[in-house]
């Protein structure tokens, strides 16, 4: 309702949200007064601090990043060294015990973080870049190009991703990290591209863009300098979505044996655990730990993603319960 906002400057009313999909919705940011770029970043920073989900997610993510950057500071052993007793239970020497091959589980989990994060950020950033490119281009070019790009996006969206990944990975046999990132990127951009296009469309006719056009700025300039910074919140949310799915899909592929079985990754750990019937033979931690790590990292991305939904769409924010004194 228009009354919700106190009379402000040239900002327009909130656009209705785009088509909803799992967790993330395309919502337009109310345009800030004047130049939106720096305002968007500071608003975002402030919003992150005040949103509980966002802080929890950020802390988790930061934790994993630290572990990935400094694994040697945390785990003494080499992850793949098969030097210890087999299938030992947890002890002070091996906090998570050892695998059936005599490898220290704790070291594997710690060193595996790096692999997973590389995939998450690599595929996440690349997929988001493509999504922004295609989504904004479609919205801005309009007409035939919009239709064509849209069609491409929709077709890729509908084709079930995981089976496609399986088929591709089957042909390539053992996929190393690089191949994994490439494949994930090429197949995973379509979902977020759709949302980005929806928002870019709603922004197309805003006043500050008109102003830029009238000033005679070139199209590319308008797109890069004016449109994209306004979409910061959604772009970040898209990155988080893509990173989350990269983590889940990559570990799933590794789990069923389509990754590189020699890599130190949580998914690969699960693959070996499954191969050695860890659950049935009492080596529980071998299966529990890597899965819990994936879940935790995934939760970090998911929490941040949800928080950014709320940041971008104020209607979704948690209600502040204020007790306003009631009159007689």
């Amino acid at each position: 309702m228009a009354m919700m906002r106190t009379p402000v400057g040239p900002g327009g009313p909130d656009e209705p949200a785009g088509t909803a999909g799992p967790t993330a919705m395309a919502a337009a940011l109310p345009a800030a007064r004047g130049r939106p770029h720096s305002a968007a970043l500071t608003r975002m920073a402030r919003a992150i601090r005040s949103n509980r989900k966002a802080t929890a997610g950020s802390i988790l993510l930061a934790f994993f990043c630290l572990v990935a950057i400094f694994p040697w500071a945390i785990a003494r052993d080499q992850p793949n060294a098969e030097v210890y007793g087999r299938s030992l239970g947890p002890s002070s020497a091996h906090p998570f015990g050892t695998t059936a091959y005599g490898q220290d589980l704790f070291a594997q989990a710690v060193w595996g973080t790096r692999d997973v994060l590389i995939i998450a950020f690599g595929a996440g950033l690349a997929a988001t870049a493509i999504a922004v490119l295609i989504g904004v281009a479609a919205a801005y070019l309009g007409g035939f190009w919009d239709g064509a790009l849209n069609l491409l996006t929709d077709v890729l969206l509908v084709i079930p991703l995981f089976p496609l990944l399986i088929v591709i990975a089957a042909y390539v046999h053992s996929s190393g990290t690089a191949v994994l990132i490439t494949v994930l990127t090429l197949t995973g951009w379509s979902y977020t591209a759709r949302q980005l296009r929806a928002q870019a469309l709603s922004l197309r006719n805003r006043d500050f863009l008109e102003a830029a056009r009238v000033r005679g700025e070139r199209r590319l300039y308008i797109v890069v300098v004016e449109i994209i910074p306004t979409m910061t919140s959604l772009i970040v949310a898209s990155f988080l979505t893509n990173a989350l799915y990269a983590v889940l899909f990559a570990s799933s592929l590794q789990f069923i044996g389509l990754g590189d079985p020699n890599s130190t990754s949580w998914g690969t750990m699960l693959y070996w655990a499954q191969n050695n019937e860890a659950l049935q033979t009492g080596q529980y931690l071998w299966a529990v730990i890597p899965g819990a790590c994936i879940a935790a990292l995934g939760a970090a991305f998911a929490l941040l993603n949800y928080a950014f939904d709320e940041i971008g769409n104020p209607a979704l924010r948690p209600m502040r319960r204020r007790r306003i004194r009631r009159a007689g």
Binding site: M3, T6, P7, V8, M319, R322, I324, R326, A327, G328
Partner: protein, 366 residues
């Protein structure tokens, strides 16, 4: 009752009978909880409404008139809340009642008409079924009774009852609006609250809708609170006029008085912004500046930053509502009741046709 709390200046005859007022709003304030603190969208508004009276509330966007309306009808939703004051309808205090408690009064005695029927009507249900929902909610009728009554109210507004089966998007804008009004008539309420029901229509449809509303009022005798930004449109039909600015009542009194002799500089500015259709051409004037940010309203008079007649004391302390020549005015110029009023431009204004195209709003932002 002290003159200040009632919207009526002493000695002024009320529109119809001198019964006990059907609605008494006293010191009503509404606040929005935002991350930067509470924003007061409606500040200490008081007025009474007699049975069958037609009261118009005018003001530009953001002045709080719609919020006031919803506050009266207890339709505010978080983060908006009534923070002070009372609303007494037919002797019953409404503030603080739950939806279940309000159901007894809603629609039977008090109904609402909103701005855009396209948004106010459920898009996935037929008109008839939405009528039925309302009828059923307040005492079941038999199916024939429901059908009959539905057809009856539609006939009242000149719509063929066959449209009970239609969906909102299948009707034209004007028809939708009239259907909404018909829906408000289902129980022949005592008070109908209307939030800019004509704003979404073209000029011709606006006029015909207003005539229809007035006609219904004459027939069924309900009181109306009519909110709009189009002062000239409502002034042809209302008994009383209340001008709002920045959440406060700026001027209030009988329509003729307020319209012909506006006293508050804002009202003068609003009316001056209307070019009259007849008479010599005059340059368009407007009110420079924009309304204050209600998150941090100015100390002193809220209109001071834009007022052509501003004095030093206007910026220091906020004025109260002072009685002046049959109206109440929130302006120091009329503290003693004998300030001068604005005069009709070239004496032509009262004869001017309503332009009804909302020019007052844009012009007010010059």
């Amino acid at each position: 009752m002290p003159a200040n709390t009632s919207g009526l200046a002493p000695g002024t005859p009320s529109a119809q009978d001198a019964h006990h007022p059907i609605l008494e709003v006293s010191g009503l304030s509404v606040e929005y909880a935002t991350e930067h603190g509470a924003v007061r969208a409606v500040d200490n508004v008081s007025f009474d409404l007699a049975p069958g009276e037609f009261a118009g509330i005018v003001g530009e966007s953001g002045c709080g008139k719609s919020t006031l309306l919803f506050a009266i009808a207890q339709l505010l939703a978080p983060p908006a809340e009534v923070s002070a004051g009372s609303v007494t309808f037919k002797g019953q205090s409404l503030v603080g009642l739950t939806d279940t408690q309000l159901a007894a009064v809603r629609w039977r005695d008090l109904s609402v008409v909103m701005q855009s029927a396209m948004n106010a009507l459920n898009p996935v249900k037929s008109i008839g079924s939405q009528f039925k929902d309302a009828l059923r909610a307040h005492g079941a009728g038999s199916r024939t009774e429901i059908a009959d009554r539905s057809a009856e109210v539609l006939a009242m507004v000149g719509i063929d009852p066959v449209h009970l089966k239609s969906y909102p998007h299948q009707l034209s804008g004007g028809m939708r609006q009239r259907a909404m009004i018909a829906m408000a008539m289902l129980f022949t309420p005592d008070l109908v609250i209307m939030d800019e029901p004509t704003s979404a229509l073209d000029v011709v449809a606006q006029r015909s809708l207003m005539v229809q509303i007035k006609e219904l009022q004459r027939r069924l005798g309900f009181a109306i609170i009519f909110v709009t930004h189009d002062m000239s449109l409502v002034s042809h039909f209302s008994d009383r006029l209340m001008v709002m600015y920045a959440g406060q009542v700026a001027e209030s009194g009988p329509t003729r008085e307020v319209f012909d002799s506006p006293r508050h500089p804002y009202s003068v500015g609003l009316l001056d912004a209307f070019p009259s259709i007849r008479g010599p051409k005059v340059p368009l004037t407007g009110i420079p500046g924009r309304p204050p940010d209600l998150a941090s309203p100015p100390t002193g008079c809220r209109f001071a930053p834009r007022c052509p007649k501003v004095m030093d004391r206007c910026r220091e302390a906020p004025p109260d509502l002072y009685p002046a020549g049959g109206t109440l005015v929130r302006c120091f110029l009329h503290e003693t009741g004998d300030g001068e009023s604005g005069t009709a431009k070239d004496g032509q204004r009262e004869k001017a046709m309503s332009t009804g195209d909302g020019t007052s709003e844009e012009a007010g932002h010059a």
